[in-house]
């Protein structure tokens, strides 16, 4: 079955990417530390007033995840390019979208692990009271991460192979992520404050729609950006 083969390919790529990360750990450690550092900087910019920090917690968390995550996306191709392995990967038989799916899932796991650390630190630094609806917040975070990672993995496929990759990825990615970030920040913020306006559900629906649109678009377009 061709589809089963693709699933095996995806699994192999995920396993390969995660193993490389696990063996070196340098990538994860530095990216997670950067996320925490960004949170501290936000705290300094907004604090020390406790209320201001508390109000801005949702936005600061998402931006920390975004800024640190961007480094992960370029890395996921960079390691391969340094070893000349991307060409080999492309030469293997099988659909191109399987490569994208593999990298996407590996990045999802990577960013989710980073998110756990950043959120834990953020709760402490920004004195966030965990509301009863916390499972919903976790769900929103997953949706937001899917949006960030799908576009990030897609744009990094280009930026990592161009000159000026450090500046190109954020320049391309940030404007594209505005809808996802806006929905994720607003939903998180609403839930943190008890969702008095009853808006979190609507934001969540939008987030699902955005994720689906961007996933479909990036899966379709990936073939064109990876083959050249």
């Amino acid at each position: 079955m061709a589809f089963n083969d693709d699933v095996r390919r995806i699994r192999a790529i995920v396993w390969k990417d995660l193993t490389t990360e696990r063996r070196s750990k340098a990538g994860f450690n530095s990216v997670a530390s950067l996320g925490v550092t960004i949170l501290v900087l936000f705290g300094l910019a907004l604090g020390p007033d406790g209320k201001a920090l508390h109000d801005a917690a949702a936005g600061a968390l998402w931006l920390a995840i975004l800024f640190a995550g961007v480094l992960a996306f370029n890395r996921s191709y960079q390691v391969e390019l340094d070893g000349g392995a991307l060409e080999a990967l492309l030469l293997y038989p099988g659909a191109r979208w399987a490569i994208f799916a593999g990298k996407l899932i590996a990045n999802l796991i990577f960013v989710t692990l980073m998110l756990v650390i950043v959120v834990a630190v953020g709760i402490v630094l920004f004195s966030v009271d965990i509301p009863a609806t916390w499972p919903l917040i976790v769900f929103i975070m997953m949706l937001g991460v899917v949006g960030i990672v799908s576009l990030g993995t897609f744009y990094a496929a280009m930026s990592s192979r161009s000159r000026a990759r450090e500046v190109l990825l954020p320049l391309l990615l940030y404007p594209m992520l505005i809808p996802v970030l806006l929905a994720a920040m607003s939903a998180t913020k609403a839930l943190l404050f008890g969702d008095v306006m009853n808006e979190a559900g609507a934001w969540m629906q939008m987030l699902v729609i955005f994720d689906v649109i961007f996933l479909v678009a990036t899966f379709l377009a990936f073939e064109y950006v990876i083959e050249v």
Binding site: P179, S186, A202, I213, A217
Partner: protein
């Protein structure tokens, strides 16, 4: 005379000079005409004249980015490098008018709303559109290989175009959950005439700009082909 481009296509059809002259002269005429013939607005005074250039600039921006979208799709479909060059030319001209739209809007917003900027859906999505296409143009300048540049920028252009209505929708939501700042206005005929004439003038200018830029892009690409051939020890070497 410039040398004829080599490569798979012949020399581009040059943009006729009369079109350029027509576009510029008509543009100047329309400005004078619409300012002289329309009375001051009851609410905004002569500030209203800004609308004559601001609104058409926004419209041709969307037209130009529409060309980018269609040409990018066509490029991915047929792999015709002329479509890529057309998309790039339209993106440059579109970005220019997009920036102009934003600046003219701010010049109008400051005396009318009291602020240079408001986080309203239309403004914000126009700004995001501008940023997306700045990214698009940077991508083009950072990629050497013409085919790769074409494929990549087509993908970025298409995704960027998809994103615009999504940004608009999300900001609209974000705004309406807080407060709305809208400016509904019906238009008297004497104003409408100025607006429509300006739209025609802007459209002519845009066509002229894109055409000229496309022509230059064709020669640039021909030079790239020639340099490549020379590097490979071809007939031009």
């Amino acid at each position: 005379m410039s040398p004829a481009p080599s490569g798979q296509f012949g020399p581009p059809k040059p943009a006729p000079n009369w079109l350029g002259w027509l576009a510029f002269l008509f543009f100047i005429f329309v400005q004078v005409y619409s300012v002289l013939t329309s009375p001051a607005d009851a609410m905004m005074g002569h500030l209203q004249k800004n609308m004559y250039v601001h609104v058409p600039a926004a419209w041709v921006t969307f037209g130009a980015f529409g060309v980018v979208l269609v040409a990018s799709l066509y490029f991915l479909w047929k792999d015709d490098e002329r479509a890529d060059l057309l998309a790039a030319s339209a993106a440059e001209v579109g970005s220019l008018f997009c920036g102009l739209t934003l600046v003219l809007g701010m010049l109008w917003g400051r005396p009318t709303w009291g602020v240079w900027w408001s986080w309203d859906a239309r403004l914000t999505s126009t700004l995001v559109l501008f940023l997306i296409f700045v990214g698009y143009l940077s991508l083009r300048s950072f990629v050497e290989d013409p085919h790769r540049r074409g494929q990549w920028s087509a993908a970025v252009g298409i995704l960027g175009a998809i994103n615009v209505p999504i940004v608009w929708m999300s900001v609209q939501w974000w705004r309406t959950l807080h407060q709305i700042q809208s400016s509904p206005r019906g238009l008297a005929p004497e104003y409408l005439r100025g607006l429509m004439l300006n739209l025609a003038a802007f459209t002519l200018l845009t066509i002229w700009f894109i055409w000229r830029r496309y022509e230059a892009a064709r020669y640039e690409r021909a030079a790239e082909h020639a340099a490549q051939a020379a590097a490979l020890g071809g007939y031009n070497g």
